[in-house]
Symmetry: C2
Subunit: 224 residues, 2 copies
DNA sequence: GCGGCGCGGATGTGATCACAAATATCGGCG
DNA sequence: CGCCGATATTTGTGATCACATCCGCGCCGC
């Protein structure tokens, strides 16, 4: 009901712009786990008042992409090992379902987009571009899942991603050290073959592999 | 940081009280699907200003317990059949996992509490108490899942519940008409026997049965 | 040298206000 | 009698402000 500001990027309300900006920062790993932010800082950063900043923060807190202490201090959550295990388990349960639902709706164009993203992922791995890697990996999965036309399920998965994202960047350092099976390629083969069972299994293993990489990282910083 | 109001129920911030009040109304089915609310109405209702009302609403919108039109009007969502199918599928995937995780931590006291709730459920069914039925059914599941000590998974499930809750009351009218298998009792037996497989299956079927009851209801009002 | 105390800045909360857009209401015209 | 347009009301948005609390830091006493 109010886009009073003249230079509005795309007719979006201020709180929505703030939300998207913060969300993107979290998902791409720009914000480190444990990092704290302030309403006034966000507001000044994005050129708005505290009110829309607060709404955006509260929305992200509801989605558990940010957390607030009892006294109201805002920070990026630092999930313990147990929490991360839960989150990856949720991904294991939900993402194969999304992949299978997407399967019948996936056309050649989507597959080629996914292949391009997979190539970009390997390029980022080789070139040492951690941020690009995280973004391309997100895009690979998102591209597939949005074909499922299951917004409620996608929303659940995105909430989980928001919580695991700050750690994906840390995984990156371990990518070179471990010999990784390429489940993305397996998923692409299953997509082209129309094999639902194989697709579900490839996605599940891709998630499980991510979880396995994260586990030692979570351990060495104990809890919280 | 600010509990300026004298008669504060429990030291909770105003926006938190508003959030809980609205959430309870939605979960218990007091608010009908499609019903619309206004910030000023909520604020006046609960004796606060618009600011905390807005924050609570935005939080609930983030959790999809409320929705906002493009122009900002607030209403209780009316999920179409496809959306409901997604939500119940998510419950089928997530709730058995929670039940299995709870199993080793469930003691006699919890079981007897669940038995009492199950008895209350049947009492409400017999007595025609729709609201009591919804609440007792929620409590039955919640009592089990909170034993799992898996807050991230519980949060996901609760988000789904928030979206399906407005329809649970409609289910109620169909409870008498269909012959229902008592999966709650099956779950309780599995709990006492320590049988994880049977427990997961009982919970899955309980959810599936709810979904089956809802399906014709969703159909006769087509979409939205 | 060290620990507790107090003060000042920083921070979230909530109320109020002006404003713009959407919706509802009502009167006039065909 | 019905439909359309103008106006009034309703409603969400965002800025600003006062306030209570919390955190950090330096100072004083032991």
């Amino acid at each position: 009901m109010a886009l009073p500001d003249p230079q509005e990027i795309a007719g979006l309300p201020a709180h929505e712009r703030v939300y998207r900006a913060l969300r993107a920062r979290i998902l791409s790993g720009e914000m480190a786990p444990g990092e704290s932010v302030t309403l006034r800082g966000i507001a000044e950063d994005l050129g708005v008042s505290m009110t829309p900043a607060r709404e955006a923060v509260r929305r992200l807190v509801a989605e558990r992409g940010l957390e607030m202490t009892a006294s109201g201090r805002i920070s990026v959550p630092v999930p313990g090992a147990a929490r991360l295990e839960e989150l990856f388990r949720a991904r294991e349960l939900l993402e194969p379902e999304l992949a299978v639902r997407a399967l019948p709706r996936v056309n050649k164009q989507v597959i080629s987009r996914m292949k391009a993203l997979d190539a970009a992922i390997e390029r980022c791995m080789a070139g040492g571009d951690a941020l690009g890697y995280v973004r391309a990996n997100n895009a690979f999965h998102t591209t597939l899942y949005e074909q499922a036309e299951a917004p409620a399920l996608v929303a659940l998965v995105e909430s989980v991603w928001l919580q695991t994202a700050p750690f994906m960047r840390r995984i990156y350092g371990r990518l070179g050290t471990a010999a990784l099976a390429d489940y993305h390629e397996a998923a692409l083969r299953a997509l082209e073959a129309g094999d639902a069972r194989a697709l579900a299994e490839a996605i599940r293993q891709d998630v499980a592999q991510g979880a396995a990489l994260l586990r030692p990282a979570a351990l060495d910083q104990t809890d919280l």
